[in-house]
């Protein structure tokens, strides 16, 4: 690809012109020399660099230039580049270098790093062809190459091309016919406006962006569980549909959370950088994982907004572009200052997330949050105000009679050691000196059948206990009440409180396969061995995992929680017949050498202050026993106890606060969440340079900042993501606008003006039309980053409206259509191909947004790769309307993306992709020939054709081709199809069973009134049309 381009350039810039450093010299030096004599100081040899002017090149004097001497050295050992690097400088390249030195050895900054200036619009010889300024640039170049543009495409082709490019769908046949007949001079523009006003316009634009944003529905690494993220996807669609200015689009996605009083939508926009893949793999090291996340965000930001491969500077200075390793970590700093934990917890709502209530709930939601905040503040104020009363109470000595603090907590029971303990179970010292606990020997446990210990998933409760963890590793079961309904399938009913590798865990089992709620502390919260801990779990009786909270020593914990079903609800009854067991799961797991004290159940969801009180009580009790007024933490616990027992106002405020939480949770339950960015507010973004990129080799600390080659950060901008975003959209930024217009260009013409749309650096490809790129970038920026206007300018250009016809001359002079000597024609993306089949069949359901759907997919795609515990292990196919949504709504599991799109080069969405590959393979043919989705669409299209009021062969065929190709077949084509149809009909007439089998493909009901043989034959005809090269290309 690259050689072809150079060939083109060589013919443009004939030998008579001076050598252009940008175009001709830099690539030679970069390729052959920069690895040792370039920007990277770590690997720089002989302290000599060739990427900037220096002593090795003497202007006008090649013979005196070390560069020239060494590349021509007769001694092989001294000749550059050395043999070991496997590089050569060709004779032609040497000639270029010599001329360059002779002409003064002028270095120029790489083009992309110089801010664009609006170039003069050229005046091509043919003044009539150009409709837009774009055309003048393109035509001038074509004229200089001696190539004529292709004639304008016919109206049907144009209508189809426009429809696909603007909406991602084939045009409605009526729209095509109207356009063909429309004599208005602006008929084309009217059609453009019509398509751009359709909601499908935003969907189609968003689909490209979502590749760049690496949007998907799972976390991506290891367990690869469901991630709730679709409100971000819907935000992108809406942004394009309301033609949000691209600078605002950028700022809200990179830093929406840092805007003053950000709206829910602005927060949802920051999902852009929460789309990265995350892990919860056991054993992972937080620091390492956090470094990987930051790198992904830097890489993505670099590729999407700057056109730079900044990630190349992770381990060392960039080899080709002037980006230092330090600058990489300055960029990383922007993304390290986050409240996000490294481990995603395998949950669908890894914090920070926000609830995105429906429009109906939104007002109340915002109010409720404020009210809750107010109440909490009022309660705290009251606590302070009540302090003197408490002190008075202490002074009065009344506290001495304070013996039953838990009356208000009203436990259902507190499990204590019975008088007769079985063998291997004994009393031992408790969590506080002088208190008593129960200790268990190997394989010993205690059954307490008299305690009513059921925990009902439909009722609120709190379960708490003091637990001593022994020093040895082993099974740590604190308590359980479990019925084993099916040991083989591991179907349980009841509950268990235990430890999973010293992480406290609580589970509620619903008695049905895969029906449970689980909560446990995060990966890194493993409790100390050989120590006492107070564990408490509260539940609001909602059956929902969100109603579970876990506390250790009175403090709320960061937890992982999920249900096996992935929907977060336990369905079945959790009431078990088995007795309460301490130190046993009723099967093979025990609590060797462990101790348990005061296991209690309360029929209420305790508030956080109540749990704190509970955990503080043992020490308080001891303090009280001494007869003196308690001090320190015990005194604080006593104050909490006092408030809860004696202060009516405190009780009232607390009850109100809990009710408020209840209303919040109710809205939460019926609303989706979405992942957002959240800055650590009281800290400046910073990062450490990691030696060779290794997380455990931190070096200098650096502050956040952009790569200096793209300009400095204005002093008035904040040193955080907001500053970064504002800096990007600053008019002085050299690449942002260029990279953006280039990507839009690529959507329409298939290839960017800079083909390497992700890399505008020294190793990227040079622009085919540098002046046009600059002109577009400035026009776009000065229009207020108006995407709609840019799109309209592109599609109304003469260049875009050309017929896609190649001839020998064009093939020779413009083999890849980089000069745009003909109209754009290329195989459409997998999503568009599927959508267009559904639309042609009249099956497409055009609802916008919402949770992702699971249409047909071959069996076993997920199971083959998934982890046993993953909630995306089994693909549960949807039915009805959900089979026919646009492909952008198909559930995207990153470790096994939708197969029919994967085969058409859809990225896995694991990393940012701004340019898809476009291959042409037999596997693709198999998809459109055999995938049930396509066969069904062909069959339903055939049904519609057969049901036309007047319906002979030609009418039916016209109907099909109008919907798929936007045109009627010519006579010769018609003849080919007629012959095929005749043979197919004969075949199916003779084999009615085969016909019935074929038309039964898919879940869409078959119209029983139609002849099966005839429908089968027409299904094959429709499928044939849908498989045409013409149908797969735009």
């Amino acid at each position: 690809m690259k050689p072809a381009l150079l060939l083109v350039s060589a013919s443009v810039f004939a030998q008579t012109k001076p050598v252009d450093f940008q175009r001709e010299v830099r690539s030679i030096l970069s390729d052959a020399c920069y690895a040792c004599h370039g920007p990277d100081k770590a690997t720089r040899m002989a302290n000599l660099r060739l990427d900037v002017p220096g002593p090795a090149v003497v202007a006008g004097k090649p013979e005196e230039s070390k560069l020239w001497q060494r590349i021509n050295h007769t001694n092989v050992a001294l000749r550059m580049p050395p043999e070991r690097v496997h590089k050569t400088i060709t004779d032609a390249q040497k000639v270029t270098l010599k001329r360059w030195i002779n002409e003064g050895a002028i270095y120029k900054q790489h083009w992309a790093f110089i801010a664009p200036e609006r170039p003069q619009s050229p005046a091509p010889r043919d003044a009539t062809w150009a409709r837009t300024p774009i055309d003048r640039f393109l035509l001038a170049r074509l004229e200089s190459e001696g190539v004529k543009p292709a004639p304008e495409a016919d109206r049907r082709t144009l209508a189809r091309r426009l429809s696909f490019d603007l909406t991602g769908l084939p045009p409605a046949p009526a729209d095509v016919e109207a356009f063909v007949k429309d004599a208005a001079p602006n008929a084309y523009e009217i059609l453009v406006d019509k398509f751009m006003a359709m909601p499908q316009y935003g969907e189609h634009r968003a689909r490209y962006w979502l590749d760049a944003a690496r949007y998907a529905d799972t976390h991506g690494i290891h367990i690869d569980n469901y991630r709730e993220m679709w409100p971000y996807r819907d935000w992108v669609i809406k942004a394009f549909n309301k033609n949000m200015p691209f600078d605002q689009f950028t700022v809200e996605q990179l830093a929406g959370d840092l805007l003053p009083n950000p709206s829910i939508d602005q927060l949802a926009a920051t999902g852009f950088h929460r789309c990265n893949i995350t892990t919860n793999e056991g054993g992972s090291i937080d620091e390492e994982v956090a470094a990987v996340y930051a790198k992904d965000r830097v890489d993505t930001t670099g590729a999407v907004f700057m056109g730079l491969t900044i990630g190349c500077a992770t381990c060392h200075d960039h080899k080709f572009d002037p980006i230092t390793q330090r600058e990489f970590y300055q960029m990383a700093a922007y993304f390290r200052n986050t409240t996000q934990k490294a481990m995603d917890g395998n949950i669908h709502d890894t914090p920070p997330v926000i609830v995105v209530p429906s429009d109906r709930d939104r007002t109340r939601w915002l109010a409720v949050q404020q009210e809750e905040k107010d109440l909490r503040a009022r309660r705290e104020r009251h606590r302070k105000n009540a302090h003197p009363a408490f002190e008075k109470w202490i002074a009065s000595g009344k506290y001495k009679s304070f013996q039953q603090p838990f009356k208000a907590l009203q436990p259902r029971f507190v499990a204590t050691a019975p008088v007769n303990l079985p063998d291997g179970v004994k009393k031992a010292e408790g969590a506080a000196p002088g208190t008593e606990s129960i200790q268990f020997a190997k394989s010993k446990s205690l059954e307490l059948p008299n305690l009513k210990a059921d925990l009902d998933s439909r009722k609120p409760f709190t379960i708490a206990a003091w637990v001593y963890l022994p020093k040895t590793e082993g099974d740590f079961v604190v308590a359980s009440k479990i019925d084993r309904l099916d040991t083989k399938k591991n179907i349980l009913r009841g509950w268990m409180l235990d430890f999973d590798a010293r992480r406290p865990r609580f589970q509620l089992y619903g008695g049905v396969e895969d029906d449970l709620l689980l909560i446990r502390t995060g990966q890194t919260v493993r409790l100390k061995a050989g120590a006492w801990h107070h564990i408490a779990v509260t539940f609001d009786g909602s059956r929902d995992y969100k109603g579970l909270t876990m506390f250790v020593n009175g403090k709320v914990q960061y937890t992982e929680s999920n249900s096996s079903t992935g929907y977060g609800i336990v369905e079945g009854s959790t009431i078990a017949q088995a007795p309460l067991r301490l130190a046993s799961d009723g099967n093979k797991r025990f609590f060797e050498d462990g101790r348990i004290q005061e296991l209690r159940v309360i029929d209420r969801e305790l508030r956080d202050d109540e749990v704190e009180l509970l955990s503080g009580w043992l020490s308080l009790e001891k303090a009280l026993a001494s007869g003196k007024a308690p001090e320190g933490p015990a005194r604080e616990t006593l104050e909490l106890a006092y408030l809860n027992r004696s202060d009516k106002q405190w009780q009232k405020l607390s009850a109100q606060w809990l009710a408020q939480i209840g209303e919040q949770r109710a809205i939460e339950r019926r609303s989706p969440v979405t992942h957002v960015m959240n800055e650590i507010k009281d800290k400046d973004p910073e990062a450490h340079i990691l030696f060779r990129g290794m997380y455990d080799q931190p070096r200098d600390k650096v502050n956040a900042g952009p790569p200096s080659i793209l300009g400095t950060m204005p002093a008035d901008l904040p040193r955080n993501r907001m500053g970064l975003a504002k800096w990007l959209v600053d008019p002085k930024h050299p690449t942002m606008a260029r990279v953006t217009v280039n990507r839009f260009w690529q959507e329409f013409f298939g290839t960017g003006i800079v083909k390497s749309s992700e890399d505008f650096g020294a190793q990227g490809l040079p622009p085919t039309h540098p002046e046009l790129l600059d002109w577009l970038a400035i026009e776009f920026r000065e229009s207020g980053w108006d995407v709609g206007k840019l799109v309209r300018m592109i599609v109304t250009s003469s260049a875009y409206r050309q017929a896609a016809i190649t001839d020998d001359d064009k093939r020779k002079k413009d083999p890849e259509n980089l000069l745009l000597s003909r109209g754009p024609r290329f195989r459409m993306d997998g999503e568009v191909i599927r959508d267009s089949a559904l639309e042609a069949g009249g099956l497409l359901v055009k609802n916008m947004g919402g949770p992702s759907v699971k249409p047909y997919q071959p069996n076993g795609i997920w199971e083959t790769v998934a982890m046993l515990g993953s909630n995306t292990r089994f693909y549960k196919q949807d039915h009805g309307k959900k089979l026919y949504r646009r492909s952008m709504y198909t559930f995207w599991k990153r470790s096994a993306p939708p197969s029919s799109m994967d085969i058409f080069n859809a990225p896995t969405r694991e990393v940012c992709t701004v340019r898809r590959e476009r291959t042409n393979t037999p596997l693709q043919a198999l998809v459109t020939l055999n995938d049930v989705q396509f066969v069904e669409a062909a069959r339903v299209l055939a049904e519609h054709a057969m049901k036309l009021p007047k319906s002979d062969f030609d009418d039916r065929l016209n109907f099909i081709t109008a919907r798929v190709l936007a045109r009627p077949f010519e006579e010769r084509e018609r003849g080919i199809v007629r012959a095929a149809h005749r043979d197919l009909l004969l075949h199916y007439d003779a084999k009615p069973d085969e016909a019935k089998k074929l038309i039964a493909t898919g879940e869409w009901p078959v119209d029983a009134k139609l002849s099966p043989a005839e429908l089968a034959a027409w299904t094959m005809v429709a499928s044939q049309v849908m498989n045409l090269d013409e149908a797969l290309n735009k």
């Binding site: 690809m1 496997h86 690494i221 290891h222 892990t279 793999e281 056991g282 992972s284 090291i285 937080d286 990987v292 080899k319 020093k471 040895t472 590793e473 493993r526 061995a529 290839t751 190793q763 016809i805 190649t806 001839d807 020998d808 093939r811 083999p815 259509n817 290329f826 076993g860 083959t864 790769v865 470790s895 993306p897 029919s900 994967d902 080069n905 896995t908 990393v911 590959e917 476009r918 291959t919 042409n920 393979t921 596997l923 043919a925 198999l926 020939l929 055999n930 080919i976 095929a980 043979d983 197919l984 075949h987 089998k997 074929l998 493909t1001 498989n1027 045409l1028 090269d1029 013409e1030 290309n1033």
Partner: protein
């Protein structure tokens, strides 16, 4: 009348046309599948190859070396004693055991004996493997840099811990091209395990992705359930003849489009539809085991009759090799034995043992072993100390990057060699270390490739499988 485009097509041979198109926008995927096309790089192989193809049996999750090949008799005295600090020596641990209060040693629960002329020590839960001790090269001194599965598997397959680089199979397909015209060059198989408690690790398409190489070099997964190749089967009610009839007129219509527009991609598409049709014949033939004689099942074991078992997939690997597939990557999961090694490991071994023997002997008797590399192993090693509960017959093992065992057979590897040595704790390598990169370099060497010279330009760098760090061909384990 002669159409000017037809004229130009006639001049160029089809091969040239396809080649040009493959370099052009889009390119032609699975160039390796093209009729008559060999693909591959002109400069390759760099020297005479020992092997033509590779069958890589990857045991996902990583088997414990000290329970299978790396016998440590001294450990019996160390039962439940702490791993000496001098041995661990600041080693970073996964967070699964880094907080453990103790690191008590769990000696293997299995018996070992010496086998073959090499006197290799092999665990008694691998009796069939033991029988072929003199056919294989056991490397006890493999080591890696990753301590968790995702990065470690990605590393051993792609040479980088971070996803996005091409895997070894893709490199081979890209560099060496295809040896057949009906099947992809690089095929991926997945085998099931049987023990219900076995701890399973994730695998995903990124492991067999082509990374920055063209997608045409990505592995094509051959499935053991449903369609063996996705969408290979015609819909119900469409037989081969009907499909042929439909494709005939489809081809005619596409030819008209080509005549009208002159887009080389159209021509390529006609070819791809024909190739798809050929695959519809060749793949069922490949997966139809009905003609395998009973002796095959004697060799691989009865389990080979059941789709999806390791034995069945090992047999499939041989059939792919026979049909000229260049690189066969087989994954089997369930080896991540964090607990219950004595219970789970024998079951895992039983799933694979006889079929491993069967595959190697089968290739040998067909005269294919010499030109086929067979590799068996995981992504890293496991710890001598127990994770979680420890007794004589209950222990678990955590991940361990500093040493692990792997074996290779055929295709240039020196049979009957036991390479490398670890300390008494199977913790550190004391002799002849083989880094994952060294192994990759050695594998490439056997394929006739100098890993230093086999590069692909991406992001300005000459990317290679073995990355930028040094890697060495391990001369001691290859035939000269």
């Amino acid at each position: 009348m002669m159409h000017p485009i037809d004229e130009s097509v006639r001049v160029a041979t089809r091969r040239q046309l396809l080649k040009r198109s493959a370099q052009g926008v889009g390119g032609i995927a699975l160039a390796s599948l093209l009729e008559g096309a060999e693909g591959g790089l002109p400069a390759l192989p760099h020297f005479a190859p020992k092997a033509k193809r590779v069958i890589w049996l990857h045991m996902v999750g990583s088997p414990p070396q000290m329970d299978l090949f790396d016998w440590k008799p001294k450990m019996q005295e160390y039962f439940d004693k702490d791993l000496p600090e001098s041995i661990r020596n600041g080693q970073r641990l996964t967070t699964m055991t880094s907080g453990q209060a103790r690191f008590p040693i769990a000696p293997t629960a299995f018996k070992f004996a010496q086998h073959g002329k090499s006197g290799a020590w092999i665990s008694d839960i691998l009796p069939w493997t033991a029988k072929m001790a003199d056919d294989i090269t056991i490397i006890k001194s493999m080591h890696t840099e990753a301590i968790n599965h995702e990065p470690a598997i990605t590393f051993i397959q792609t040479g980088s811990m971070i996803a996005g680089k091409p895997c070894t199979g893709s490199w081979a397909a890209y560099g060496l091209g295809s040896m057949n015209k009906d099947l992809p060059s690089f095929v991926v198989l997945n085998a099931n395990h049987t023990h219900p408690k076995a701890n399973v690790q994730a695998i995903s398409a990124k492991l067999w992705s082509a990374g920055f190489l063209s997608a045409q070099y990505a592995g094509v997964a051959l499935r053991s359930g449903g369609d063996p190749v996705l969408y290979i089967n015609n819909p119900d009610g469409v037989d081969g003849k009907t499909r042929r009839r439909m494709l005939d007129s489809l081809g005619e219509l596409n030819q008209m489009t080509y005549d009208k527009l002159g887009d080389a991609e159209t021509k390529a598409r006609i070819e791809q539809y024909e190739m798809a049709f050929r695959m519809q014949t060749s793949v069922p033939d490949l997966t139809d085991l009905s003609k395998e004689p009973e002796s095959t099942y004697k060799l691989y074991g009865e389990a080979a009759k059941k789709p999806g078992t390791f034995a069945n997939q090992a047999l499939m690997a041989r059939r792919l090799a026979e049909r000229g597939v260049r690189f066969i990557q087989l994954y089997m999961r369930g080896w991540d034995v964090h607990s219950d090694v004595p219970e789970i490991l024998p079951a895992q071994c039983k799933d694979v043992d006889q079929a491993l023997y069967g595959l190697v002997q089968d290739l040998k008797s067909r005269g294919m072993l010499d030109e086929t590399v067979v590799i068996w192993g995981g992504e890293f090693g496991r710890t001598i100390y127990s994770q979680g509960k420890l007794s004589k017959d209950v222990y678990g093992r955590d991940h361990h990057p500093r040493c692990f065992s792997l074996w290779a057979a055929g295709g240039g590897f020196k049979p009957g060699v036991v390479w490398g040595e670890t300390d008494d704790f199977s913790y550190n390598i004391v002799r002849d270390p083989v880094h994952v990169r060294d192994f990759q370099a050695t594998l490439m060497h056997n394929l006739g490739i100098d890993h230093r010279r086999f590069t692909y330009k991406y992001q300005g760098l000459d990317q290679r499988l073995t990355g930028v760090e040094e890697a060495h061909v391990v001369k001691g384990i290859i035939r000269s």
